[in-house]
């Protein structure tokens, strides 16, 4: 029994164990809804029993057993009332308990791949994986996607119904199918990381647990199969992670890349990322994550903004824009042009990108435009752009930062 307070232990268990417990309960109980109710009941039981009986040595096993036991008990009671359903009762028969770490890891992979199954729409895969694997709430996913919460909720409900109705197997695909199913899984992992890195709400700018979770999943993917894009994604996340400590100051305010104390960047993470990029590039299969990681690596190598190889960053952005065109990629390329060729060229490039639409609701597009206008001395235009960016910013530290910029004009 641990000596940590039961309440702290319960919160820690929720953070670290809830998704793994869910992944195992889905296998043991044969479905998402039953497993989710079982997970809820397991934590309800923990809240009742841990303060009295002490915190179990292995919270994962305790929670799996409690959730499974309570669910089977409820099924037995319901079966007595309504007439037994044989297929449900079959699930209530004893099955081997998952005791080995490999089993737990397998359950998480099963969960990732069932959530990313090609039978589901791409939107549904992402929403389902963010919720079931990443542990985000429906509302957090909705904010990350700038989408109403009921839309996301409906996607998740329909995806689960499809998994149930089409009896999509809860298993890790074999090696022939794995690469094809990897891309969607990687996209989802990166979104989890981004949600943690630039949290859409809450007092803190970064939510280390989500980033750590995404990196954990990224490592799992790299270990699972030798795929360059999995390496590229992990490298990209590690490079962001390396800068985390310098991204906000002691009062929780945002620090721009150009003002960050590069001596504090985590060189071990950067070296690990560079190793992954090297391996990925050697494969000659160059995808969007490798390119983004390579761009981040150019920043990580430079002693400062002035020393940064902006020519190379624009060149890598050009390739990225061809491999994976998107408004945000185009915006970042435009901002890099502003660093390479000066604010006049940068403003023209940013306005060209914004003129194509798709970025009107994106606060960083308005902030980037404002920065170019500020550097050109277009004070009134910069004010308008900063104000628009502030209106669109939900994260308090980001809002304070942009308000600070506005105040300096």
């Amino acid at each position: 029994m641990s000596t940590a307070g039961p309440r702290d232990a319960l919160e820690a268990a929720y953070r670290t164990e809830a998704r793994r417990v869910l992944a195992t309960l889905i296998r043991l109980l044969g479905g998402f809804d039953a497993a989710e109710e079982a997970l809820h009941e397991a934590f309800t039981a923990a809240a009742e029993q841990w303060p009295r009986q002490g915190v179990p040595a292995n919270p994962y096993s305790w929670l799996v057993s409690a959730g499974r036991f309570r669910t089977i008990d409820r099924w037995r009671r319901e079966a007595r009332l309504t007439g037994a359903l044989p297929e449900l009762m079959a699930l209530a028969e004893p099955t081997p308990e998952p005791a080995m770490p490999e089993d737990i890891q397998d359950d998480e992979l099963r969960l990732i791949f069932v959530c990313c199954h090609p039978a589901l729409t791409p939107d549904a895969r992402i929403a389902l994986t963010l919720r079931e694997v990443g542990g985000l709430t429906t509302e957090e996913i909705a904010r990350a996607y700038l989408t109403p919460a009921p839309t996301i909720a409906q996607r998740i409900v329909r995806a689960k119904a499809k998994i149930r109705d089409e009896a999509i197997p809860y298993e890790v695909p074999d090696r022939d199918d794995l690469p094809a199913r990897l891309e969607s899984a990687l996209q989802v992992i990166y979104l989890i990381f981004n949600e943690g890195y630039a949290a859409t709400e809450g007092p803190n700018l970064t939510r280390a647990d989500l980033c750590a979770e995404a990196i954990r999943l990224g490592r799992l993917m790299v270990e699972l199969l030798d795929q360059p894009e999995a390496q590229g994604l992990l490298a990209l996340m590690l490079l962001h992670e390396a800068r985390r400590a310098t991204r906000v100051d002691a009062s929780g305010d945002l620090v721009l890349l150009e003002d960050q104390d590069r001596a504090l960047w985590d060189r071990a993470l950067i070296a690990e990322a560079d190793g992954l990029i090297g391996r990925a590039i050697a494969s000659r299969r160059i995808g969007p994550y490798i390119l983004q990681a390579a761009i981040a690596s150019v920043h990580a190598e430079a002693a400062g903004t002035a020393e940064t190889d902006w020519v190379q960053i624009v060149a890598l952005s050009d390739v990225l824009g061809r491999v994976d065109p998107s408004p945000v990629v185009a915006l970042n390329r435009a901002a890099a042009i502003g660093m390479r060729d000066g604010p006049q060229a940068g403003l023209a490039a940013i306005e060209a990108v914004m003129g194509q639409g798709g970025l009107d609701g994106y606060h960083l597009a308005h902030a980037a435009r404002a920065d170019m206008q500020r550097r050109l001395g277009l004070t009134e235009a910069a004010r308008t752009s900063y104000r628009r960016a502030i209106e669109l910013t939900r994260q308090p530290a980001e809002r304070r930062f942009i308000e600070g910029r506005l105040g300096q004009l």
């Binding site: 809820h40 809240a47 919720r131 509302e139 009921p150 709400e201």
Partner: protein, 121 residues
């Protein structure tokens, strides 16, 4: 988070005496306890039919009231359950387990979090 589950039903269906409706009514009687046992329950009230209700408004400092709204042919708001759930999907799943979901419908509404800014409309 907290969610209000607004339960709507057609009175003539629910109180019409069919075996299905009577079974639902019997099950409803104990459902608060089911929610309490699972840790989702916050509060719940069933509402008397709208013909016993009044509607009030104040305009320019003057109060006016009418009786009703009257039951027409539509479903009426018949009960409110407030539950605690992790997110909207969990709230929907919990609401879908309510007996009245099989005969009426349940609107799941997030309860306002006043630490967040009001909606910009």
């Amino acid at each position: 988070m907290r969610y209000a589950c607004l339960i709507y039903y057609h009175p003539k269906t629910l109180f019409g005496g069919s075996p299905q409706a009577n079974a639902v009514l019997a099950e409803c009687a104990g459902y608060d306890e089911v929610l309490r046992a699972s840790g989702h329950f916050v509060t719940a009230e069933a509402l008397v039919l709208p013909e016993e209700a009044m509607t009030v408004q104040v305009r320019d400092g003057k109060m006016s009231s009418v009786d009703g709204p009257f039951m027409e042919t539509k479903e009426i708001l018949g009960g409110i359950i407030v539950i605690e759930a992790r997110d909207l999907n969990e709230a929907v799943r919990v609401a879908s387990g309510h007996p009245l979901a099989t005969i009426g419908f349940i609107e799941v509404r997030p309860v306002v979090d006043f630490s967040q800014p009001p909606p910009a409309l």
